[in-house]
């Protein structure tokens, strides 16, 4: 019984975090066709910047976090405007340039903060018991932020005019131009949103996992897995697959061994690619 509760609670927390990381990744792919290998770097920037704003600028945790997320969004938009836009149609170029940015930020963090993990201050100290399972407030907060931001993003895309213009470009770029939408603006906005969401994940999880210069790899792999399982470009798919991955990893970790959870997403990727290549919610091959 304890195991079930543990899986339910921890699985929900991790699942929501995976969804948060993956929605931005799938969004920019669905809209602009960009496989953004720098997505994990945005997560890393969120963590390091909030650390830097707290320790160097001595800002309180909330302003530090907000500033970190905003700065990362701006970095994302700058990368789109000056790194990707000139060569947007060339997919291999986009892969290489985004990987280059990821490695650049890794080296930059290494140079600025050293190779060792930086403990980032929590938003809130202490633990709480959920049905007998003890969870840190930080993780609960992380879940709250993930769940509400993913919901907000979904509402934004489905309900607002600007959000619908993002969806319109994803569906048919030519048609979008003929109704007066400017795709380049939509790409810029989407990249900003995508980077901001990844940064939020980094900000909230940094106190749990600490900040290290190689931390961008893990969310990138998780985002890949979630997006392949959920269906390329599908926001709903990313949410569902993120939650599924959270639960199944926690399952394996608690019931089998804490050494194996990473096997889960690798096996899941292989199974999905073999038996349902378009993913759970994928629509069509591009």
């Amino acid at each position: 019984m304890t195991e079930v509760l543990n899986i339910a609670v921890l699985g929900t927390i991790w699942g929501a975090l995976y969804s948060l990381i993956a929605v931005g990744f799938t969004l920019i792919f669905g809209v602009a066709g960009i496989v953004n290998l720098a997505h994990g770097a945005f997560y890393m920037l969120g963590a390091y910047l909030s650390y830097a704003f707290m320790t160097v600028l001595r800002l309180p945790v909330v302003p530090a976090a907000l500033l970190a997320v905003s700065c990362t969004a701006v970095v994302g938009m700058l990368i789109d405007r000056f790194g990707i836009r000139p060569m947007r149609e060339r997919h291999v170029y986009v892969l290489i340039i985004t990987l280059a940015f990821a490695l650049f930020f890794q080296e930059l963090m290494y140079a600025l903060f050293g190779p060792h993990g930086k403990a980032v201050g929590s938003f809130i100290q202490g633990d709480m018991a959920i049905g007998g399972v003890y969870v840190s407030y930080q993780k609960v907060l992380c879940f709250g932020a993930s769940a509400s931001l993913v919901t907000l993003l979904w509402l934004f895309i489905k309900k607002t005019k600007t959000g619908k213009s993002i969806s319109a470009v994803a569906q048919n770029r030519q048609a979008a131009i003929y109704v007066g939408i400017q795709p380049e603006r939509v790409y810029l906005l989407t990249m900003g949103i995508s980077a901001a969401l990844a940064a939020v994940a980094g900000v909230f999880i940094a106190p749990v996992l600490e900040a290290v210069p190689t931390m961008w790899v893990f969310p990138l792999f998780k985002a890949f897995a979630v997006v392949i399982i959920g269906g390329l470009g599908s926001v709903e798919g990313a949410i569902i697959a993120g939650m599924l991955l959270g639960y199944s990893e926690t399952c394996v970790s608690i019931l089998i061994s804490a050494n194996y959870p990473d096997m889960v997403y690798l096996v899941a990727i292989i199974l999905v690619l073999l038996f349902r290549p378009r993913g759970l919610m994928g629509k069509r091959a591009h």
Partner: protein
Amino acid sequence: MNLLDVRDIKVLYGKAIALNGLSIRLQPGELVGVVGPNGAGKTTLLRAISAVVPVLGEIYYDGQRIDTKAPHEIIRMGVVQCPERRQLFTEFTVAENLEMGAFLRKDKEGIRRDLAYVYALFPVLAERRRQISGTLSGGEQQMLAIGRALLSKPRLLMMDEPSMGLSPLVKKHLAASILEIWKGGITVLLVEQDAHLALGLTQRTYILEHGKVGLEGESQRLMANEEVKRVYFQLT
């Protein structure tokens, strides 16, 4: 004054010449056709006016030069295209597609009025407003594409092969709708591969050949022209 004045434009796709010194003019309130064989440059002409391809030469709309403007600026001026192959947002509902047509507009009252107009013009769209547009029939999709263009508030509506893939009965219905839109005060430039439909509907027609105007004149006269008859009607 001309509403649209396309002056000696050239469009190149790489080394291929799509338009080679093409000129057309439209007066306000006209209903004008553009016909010609595949590859003559019909679609490219509309793409040039909408500024989605680079153009050499000059295009004027309502006295202002527009070939230097961006697509959304041209739409805002009232030059709206209903593109080839409908180009709907196939995952959106009928209502959402129409809503996107009004993307650049802020006049809520006007949008509501135009929406009511479109639903009156095409009642089937009103019935299916909650339906995903990708599941509509070909004729309904074409109505939706035209409706969406109407919600952009055109003064000049350019339609690219609206009859493509439609049955004769649906084509007839479509032709009636185009006439009604035109009678509502919108200048119409109709590009068609179905020369019969275009010549029967329009006042004047340009016949394109190899990227320029081969023949032009009153549609009735062109229909009686031996050369036109031979090329466009004997063979079909």
